[in-house]
């Protein structure tokens, strides 16, 4: 894992001290809210419906046990004993008090963490494949480059006041688990014909009010050219991006309005002009960073114990079937710990659960944890002989739900239970869907199905790329939920299509049930997933199930 050098340490401490002074001046009246707001947002502090909310960056989703324990400590000491893991690999605390936030930031700095650039019109926390460094299908670990981008973008003097926020995601695997096509810039690590490492650069993706799939601006940027090339893109956007209309300010609109060819030409010109100024220091830095991401020495212990447990314990076997992914080392596995117990709040972990996860990581997981954009926690390296013990410990703490990738593994934004921007609630809808399908005992039969719920058009819950997407709106003073179908956030990224009129809160769960019923009725075999069935048949059978009255009146 990367460890702060003296520069990082001094910078983060200085920012804490600055913010402490700013908070003091806000409270004593020297600063107005208009003056203070941009300062608090630069440090990840929002004001929500019931309280302040502090968004803490977990760069590229990577944590060690010490950091996770510190998050648990913060949750207990300054919040209400839990934290909320988000779709951007951050953690949010929902109840901090203004005067105590500098102490929280100090406690984060103690474990090399911060909340810088988790808000505002800057380059935000860089996200990455949560299986980075562990996945069997990986070409290269994306985290060294993600860390390089973090250092380059943090406090970048030219990019503190961009037209709008800017999100970069990196994947080192052809199977895209980082939703790179829905980011302002998506980076896919590839090799060229000569076998040299580089990046396919995707630009202009994004969800929100105007969802768009990113386009390839360059199919190969050599590794040593990455930062100059990224800087060229963000510079072009900084000048060209619209500042007259907040809703047209993201780079996806800049790309759509100017065309990818025009953007590409401008970026290339800028890149040609500025790349010579770089001088290679970034590559020295990258080499040092790469060193700190060297893989652990994987232990050897045989698989007899694992296989014996698999044969003897059905519940363990079911959990292994859904919650394990293939590790690059055949004796190891990647464990996805579901933070989606049926009926619980997606992404919320109690301080006790955080400590349990930290202990497991430290003892049996080479001291590594990841947060996924799907709001689960990953133990990226676990020897298979340790899985029975891990499973038993997780089970004792409500963390062994065997539902990863299934209908109850729902992404949900905080919605109007917390968020000041929300137009409807998300969490109760997620809770009810998960509870209902658990009662029906259907979720394993249904198989892979991603439901994603957002409580407003800004789409923090990624509803556009859910196989079933749910968008909560305010329709004449009543919560109303629109459904989209066929979305996909992987390498075959697709924006879901709206089915038609929305449903009131008490009808959305039955509507989802009818959709699932239509899938079960129409699928060719148990192997055909919901998404495959939708792609084969299109919207019609699902629409007929959703709006039976309409289908009847057409038939009559």
């Amino acid at each position: 894992m990367y460890h702060y050098n003296d520069f990082d340490e001094a910078f983060v401490r200085e920012r804490v001290a600055q913010f402490r002074g700013q908070v003091e001046r806000r409270i004593d009246g020297s600063l107005t809210e208009d003056e203070f707001k941009p300062l608090r947002l630069m440090n990840g502090l929002y004001l929500q419906l019931h309280a302040y909310m502090l968004r803490v960056a977990i760069p590229y989703g990577t944590l060690n046990s010490r950091q996770m324990r510190q998050l648990a400590m913060i949750a207990d000491r300054w919040d209400k004993g839990y934290g909320h893991f988000t779709t951007r690999q951050n953690i949010q605390f929902n109840w901090p008090k203004l005067g105590e936030v500098p102490d929280i930031l100090e406690a984060l700095a103690d474990v090399e963490m911060h909340a810088i650039q988790t808000s505002g019109n800057t380059i935000r926390n860089v996200t990455a494949d949560h299986f980075a460094g562990a996945a069997a299908d990986e070409i290269a670990d994306p985290r060294p480059v993600a860390e390089l981008i973090r250092q380059w973008s943090t406090d970048h003097p030219e990019f503190q006041f961009l037209p709008r926020k800017f999100k970069i995601a990196v994947t080192g695997s052809p199977n895209d688990r980082a939703v790179t096509r829905a980011h302002d810039i998506g980076l896919r690590m590839v090799r060229n014909d000569a076998g040299e490492p580089g990046f396919e650069v995707i630009v202009g993706g994004g969800l929100g009010r105007t969802p768009m799939i990113g386009q390839v601006i360059r199919d190969f940027v050599a590794q040593q050219d990455l930062l100059p090339y990224l800087e060229a893109i963000v510079s072009v956007y900084n000048l060209l991006g619209r500042r007259d209309n907040k809703y047209k300010a993201r780079i996806k609109i800049t790309v759509a309005e100017n065309g990818i060819d025009e953007i590409r030409a401008r970026v290339e010109a800028q890149f040609e002009q500025s790349k010579a100024e770089w001088g290679g220091f970034d590559q020295e830095l990258l080499a040092r960073i790469e060193h700190s991401f060297a893989p652990p020495v994987f232990k050897r212990a045989g698989l007899e114990k694992f296989n014996a447990n698999l044969a003897a314990n059905g519940a363990f076997r079911a959990w292994c079937d859904t919650n394990l992914s293939e590790h690059r080392d055949p004796e190891h596995a990647i464990v996805t710990v579901s933070i989606k117990a049926h009926g619980a709040t997606p992404g919320d972990a109690s301080s006790t659960q955080m400590r349990v996860l930290a202990d497991l990581a430290e003892r049996l997981g080479y001291d590594e944890l990841r947060i996924s954009h799907e709001q689960n926690v990953i133990l990226p390296h676990v020897h298979k002989s340790d899985l029975p013990e891990i499973y038993a410990t997780l089970r004792d703490h409500g963390l062994a739900t065997a539902n990863v990738g299934l209908i109850s593994d729902i992404i949900a934004c905080p919605g109007m239970d917390y968020c000041a921007l929300a137009t409807a609630r998300s969490i109760p809808v997620a809770q009810e869907i998960a509870t209902r399908f658990d009662e029906l005992k259907l979720e394993h039969e249904i198989g892979p199905l991603k439901i994603k719920i957002s409580g407003c058009i800004n789409a923090c819950g990624h509803h556009h790329v859910g196989h079933i997407g749910i968008l909560g709106l305010d329709r004449a003073g009543v919560e109303n939920y629109q459904i989209t179908l066929g979305g996909d956030g992987t390498e075959t990224a697709t924006i879901g299509e709206r089915t038609g009129p929305g449903f009131p809160a008490d009808e959305i769960v039955p509507a989802v049930e009818r959709l699932v019923g239509a899938y079960l009725e129409h699928r060719k075999s148990e192997e055909e997933t919901f998404l495959q069935t939708y792609r084969r048949l299109g919207m019609d059978p699902f629409k007929a199930a959703l709006y039976p009255e309409k289908a009847q009146s057409r038939a009559a």
Binding site: E33, L49, H50, N94, G99, M416, D417, E479
Partner: protein, 100 residues
């Protein structure tokens, strides 16, 4: 053209120190119970009260006018957003519903 009648309002905001939902009272203080807020029936008065609230930056953040209705227990929300602010989140017994 007939103007729509003015819907009664309260001035809502968040407390500066802990962010909790608060409302403006007739006594120019801030209450955490919407039932104790001043129900404003006149548009000109509403504008005036909002101006007053905007000058309370040392106590509250982001004051705004929001629709409310008269009830025996004082002003009550007409929209679910303000009702949630009055109660707290639905996934935990936190916030005002916990008596905090």
């Amino acid at each position: 053209m007939t103007r729509r009648p003015f819907a009664p309002k309260v001035v809502a905001a968040n407390d500066l120190l802990d962010g909790d939902a608060v409302w403006l009272t007739e006594e120019d203080t801030w209450t955490r119970d919407m039932g104790e807020a001043e129900l404003i029936e006149d548009e000109a008065v509403a504008d005036d009260r909002l101006l007053f609230a905007l000058g309370q930056a040392n106590f509250v953040v982001g004051p705004y006018l929001v629709d409310a209705k008269a009830t025996p227990k004082g002003p009550a929300p007409t929209h679910f957003r303000e009702a949630f602010r009055m109660r707290g989140p639905s996934n935990y017994p936190h916030g005002k519903q916990a008596g905090e």
